[in-house]
């Protein structure tokens, strides 16, 4: 506190300066609107404008319509023209305005003035921010080591502009979060069918759906599009069977829920396959025609995976497995599986998802109406709508961290590099790769990453990360550790071309457009990157030739009938001539296709590689795999494994999680994480509307487990986590990672060997709403201004990520989120 005090005499002098505004020279000015006629009180001015755009409260990118009056967003509803979400939105989507107008949003460029992490900031102009960032980046680029500029993205729906900037800069150090998300699922599907990394079951037309750990009613990358189709199918009598360690709302909406021990989903799929083979409920013709492995031999392979073995490991009764196998096969081909993090985010997740995928081949439902389908495009049709040139060449510099060579499947597919996100900060700490500047974009790695405390330690260290720029809409644990914070526009104030894997099996394209002008001084990457490129120079600027973002999108959407104008009105475009992607593999190759090709072992090759396969004497397109068939036996993954000295079984197998059996026998539990329907990443905890609905995360325990541990509902416990006992995992020595303190929530809705904790909690910054009043941001002893209205202030909210070990699946690099072993003990008192 300053000892100097303002006097009334100073005041007069100062008012002259401050009041220069009265003469139009500096302060806020009030003018009379001479022409304005006074209107009556209480009348609304202006009509409501309806603007079509796309949600991004999560990555599902549902079509929305924003109702805007006088430049202010009032409400958000679904856009019925969107073929994926068909007019539906979830609670998060409706809550968009509360993020846009969040009182704690970042709206001005800030530069730290104290130590890094001290929390002392000053506003700077964009001009100052641009100059400082461009000077730093130019120096890195001109040093000839462009890889020392690292870019950490979270959920990125502006892939075109991000890739353009990083490629033009020449850095390969683009770090994403795929390994924390869906890597194993994608790797399993890619290696099996080649055409796509994302299955899109034709749920709407299906009669029987086996769900292995996908929480599609609450979370999931295809949340609303999947949920609406599942519910329609169920209304028509389809049966949904969910295997999950926890009674999620998805499980609750299913016909059956079977609690499973984490990491055994693949074994259940193999046991179902065992029954289908043993009882010859299979579509043997299809399997023999369209896969690269004889049905007879696959039956031999799965013979060991009996329902009894699956029961012993997973807890699902053998009789239930037999019944479900029979029901599933009887519904074929109108039956399908869906899976996601429950099966994939494990040390053995790659094989789990392979086993589940191949189960579909066994009943011959692949690509059929009501069956297990996919689409070759994960976004819009990039041939029909190519990115406006000039396109920068891919970087030639190398990034050790991005290549992550210890994990053979992480980057095994051209054009689908998935990286190993969870090891980035460990490897920076170990100085495996020099980082001179880091830019964080829409990511809160200091809260959301496994061993988030290690991330914070690295980000706080100016030797390891000499310069850190953070671009986000809100203050976060990560922005607190930046040198410059740039205020990002929300998805309601910016442009994107966007679309998701089409759940209706026909590709489409959507437009995200500003529904209101950017608040404060916030800006989007699409404005920031071209400006930085111009200032960095050295040829980078040539890749950003358009004058405005609108001009860029005019060019992008030119091929759409009605062009950009149509997109601005409708928000979405679907080519009416396109048909659902059923039976793509059966497509016969034309004489033109076959020109100049050669056939080897039945596979048809042209100059660029395999394009089809001979099936019963007919040249057909087949699948996108090396054999052009469903690769039940994947030589490709076995080869990649050998190159990295890792053994990867070419057939789907069940590999028990190392150390689990022994530690479970000692009474340890498996800790899993989950997501609520109203929360996504760090951003939703910023919304008062959503936090009011869900703001706490006690630990779910089964009453039988609690009785064994002497615990009752509401008890305080300490949960201590341990690293895996696994030489193939970094630091896999079984040592203690950390502890958290929380309270017990007793429920039958969780497997007895599991403790389940929601991970959308435990924020310590971002204001009182995000942090349950913990982030007071005021002098001690004073309530924060909004505190009285955060009626849930002080509710239990625990950060789980701090005690999750960095645990990549040795095969793929997928973070094994659901394999952490913990001990639980009762404690007295509070957090």
């Amino acid at each position: 506190m300053s000892t100097w005090t303002l006097t009334r005499r100073d005041l007069l002098r100062a008012a002259v300066v401050a009041g220069a505004g009265a003469a139009g020279l500096g302060g806020i000015e009030v003018v009379h609107q001479l022409s304005a006629s006074p209107g009556p009180t209480g009348q609304t001015t202006g009509a409501v404008r309806r603007v079509a755009s796309m949600c991004q409260m999560c990555t599902t990118a549902c079509g929305i319509i924003a109702n805007v009056r006088d430049g202010r967003l009032l409400t958000i509803e679904g856009n019925p023209a969107d073929p994926n979400s068909q007019g539906s939105v979830c609670a998060k989507g409706v809550a968009g305005p509360s993020v846009l107008y969040d009182p704690n949003r970042l709206l001005y460029p800030l530069k730290r003035v104290g130590r890094r992490g001290e929390g002392k900031w000053k506003r700077i102009t964009w001009e100052e921010a641009y100059t400082e960032i461009a000077d730093r980046l130019r120096a890195i680029r001109e040093s000839g080591r462009p890889e020392e500029f690292a870019f950490q993205q979270g959920r990125n729906r502006s892939t075109d502009i991000v890739a353009r900037f990083l490629d033009a800069f020449g850095t390969p150090s683009a770090f994403n979060h795929r390994a924390l998300c869906s890597l194993n699922r994608r790797a399993a599907i890619l290696s099996t069918i080649g055409d796509s990394d994302w299955d899109l079951g034709d749920f709407e037309n299906s009669r029987y759906i086996l769900n292995f750990g996908s929480n599609w009613a609450e979370a999931h990358q295809g949340h609303i599009p999947v949920a609406i189709r599942m519910m329609r199918a169920r209304e028509r009598g389809a049966k949904i069977v969910t295997f999950d360690a926890r009674l999620s709302n998805t499980a609750a909406l299913s016909d059956e829920w079977h609690p499973v021990r984490p990491g055994t989903d693949g074994l259940i799929a193999l046991a179902i396959s065992h029954v289908i083979c043993a009882e010859e409920l299979w579509d043997r013709d299809w399997f023999d025609r369209w896969t690269n492995y004889p049905a007879e031999k696959y039956a031999e392979h799965v013979a060991a995976y009996t329902p009894e073995l699956a029961e012993a490991e997973s807890g699902v009764p053998a009789e239930a497995i037999r019944r479900i196998a029979r029901e599933f096969a009887a519904a074929a081909p109108r039956c399908t599986t869906i899976c996601n993090r429950g099966s994939a985010a494990h040390r053995n997740g790659f094989h789990n998802d392979r086993a589940i995928t191949v189960l579909n081949a066994l009943v011959g439902n692949m690509g059929k109406e009501g069956g297990w389908c996919w689409h070759p495009m994960s976004a819009w049709d990039k041939k029909a709508l190519p990115e406006p040139g000039p396109i920068a060449p891919k970087p030639t510099a190398r990034s050790l961290i991005a290549e992550a060579k210890d994990w053979p499947l992480a980057n095994a597919w051209q054009g689908n590099k998935m990286r190993v996100g969870e090891i980035v900060y460990l490897w920076i700490k170990e100085r495996r790769q020099q980082i001179s500047a880091l830019m964080t974009y829409n990511c809160d790695q200091a809260w959301a990453w496994p061993e988030a405390n290690l991330v914070r330690e690295v980000l706080a260290d100016e030797d390891l990360v000499p310069f850190h720029v953070c671009l986000d809409v809100m203050a976060s644990e990560t922005s607190n550790l930046a040198d410059i914070v740039l205020p990002w526009t929300t998805y309601l104030e910016r442009w994107d071309i966007d679309s998701r894997p089409p759940q209706g099996l026909v590709d489409y394209v959507g437009l995200r457009q500003p529904v209101v002008a950017p608040l404060g001084e916030s800006k989007d990457l699409r404005e920031i990157f071209p400006e930085l490129a111009r200032r960095i120079g050295g040829g980078m600027e040539e890749y950003f030739p358009w004058a405005t973002q609108e001009e860029y999108f005019e060019r992008y959407f030119a091929p759409v009938p009605g062009g950009f104008g149509h997109m601005r009105t409708a928000g979405v475009y679907v080519d009416p001539a396109k048909k659902p992607n059923y039976l793509p593999y059966e497509k016969e190759l034309t004489p033109e296709d076959l020109e100049g090709t050669r056939t080897e072992d039945g596979v048809i090759h042209n100059a660029e590689g395999p394009i089809g396969v001979m099936v019963d004497g007919v040249a057909r397109r087949g699948f996108g795999t090396p054999s052009r068939k469903v690769e039940v036996h994947s030589g490709f993954v076995a080869d990649r494994g050998r190159e990295a000295d890792r053994e990867i079984s070419p057939l789907p197998v069940y590999e028990p999680i190392p150390g689990h059996r022994e530690q479970l026998a000692q009474g340890r539990l498996i800790m899993i994480s989950f997501k609520w329907n109203v929360h996504n990443a760090h951003r939703t905890m910023q919304s008062k509307w959503l936090q009011e609905i869900s703001h706490t995360n006690p630990a779910w325990l089964n009453p039988a487990t609690a009785a064994r541990l002497g615990l009752v509902h509401g008890d305080w416990i300490e949960v201590t986590s341990y690293r895996p006992i696994d030489p193939q995992v970094p630091r896999g020595d079984g040592s203690r990672v950390g502890s958290l303190r929380t309270r017990v929530h007793l429920t039958e809705g969780v497997h007895p060997q599991v403790i389940a904790i929601a991970h959308n909690a435990g924020r310590t910054t971002g204001g009182p709403v995000a942090s349950n009043g913990r982030d007071r941001a005021v002098l001690p002893g004073h309530e924060p201004p909004d505190h009285g209205r955060v009626w849930w202030a002080g509710s239990l909210s625990v950060a789980q990520n701090d005690i999750l070990p960095i645990y990549p699946d040795p095969v793929s690099g997928q973070q094994a989120y659901h394999d952490t072993m913990v001990t639980v003990r009762r404690i007295e008192g509070t957090a």
Binding site: D10, G27, V113, K688
Partner: protein, 151 residues
């Protein structure tokens, strides 16, 4: 009503103290310290005293009903507000705007309406919070004087 107090407070809560104002006030602190204090109080990350009626009155979103009501008031009386570029003002329910309006209106029934309907329901409490939270002059004294003017 002391016009100087209104004018100075309006300016102090809307933008950083610049070199001429620092000199006029006789502040001993360097500009950077003053800017950091402005940021901590009014801009954030996580501002301690966001100077908006909407936020202070518990609306979950900046602007909102408070701004709509102020806009209606200004429109009815043929008033318009011009916020200079660079000022940290997101919505018209900002204290700086309301004080500038009050300063402009002086005394009389329109000023009384502004005071009773828009300022007094929140500004005195807010100014007390500011006075208690601010670590540097001139924010402490300006907040106190301004509160005394309004009550």
């Amino acid at each position: 009503m002391n016009a100087d107090v209104l004018l100075l407070t309006s300016r102090l809560v809307s933008t950083e103290i610049d070199a001429p104002l620092r000199e006029a006030l006789g502040c001993p602190e360097p500009l950077e310290e003053l800017s950091a204090e402005f940021c901590r109080l009014f801009v954030g990350p996580r501002p301690v005293c966001p100077p908006y009626a909407s936020v202070q009155r518990g609306e979950p979103m900046v602007g909102g009903r408070a701004e709509r009501r102020l806009k209606d008031f200004a429109a009815r009386h043929g008033l318009d507000v011009v916020v200079p570029p660079g000022f940290a003002v997101l919505a018209l329910d900002h204290l700086g705007v309301e004080l500038a309006l009050l300063h402009h209106l002086g005394d009389g029934p329109v000023a009384a309406e502004l005071l009773d309907d828009h300022l007094r329901p929140w500004a005195p409490g807010y100014l007390r919070l500011l006075e208690e939270s601010a670590r540097l002059e001139p924010y402490v004294s300006a907040a106190r004087w301004c509160r005394e003017e309004l009550t």
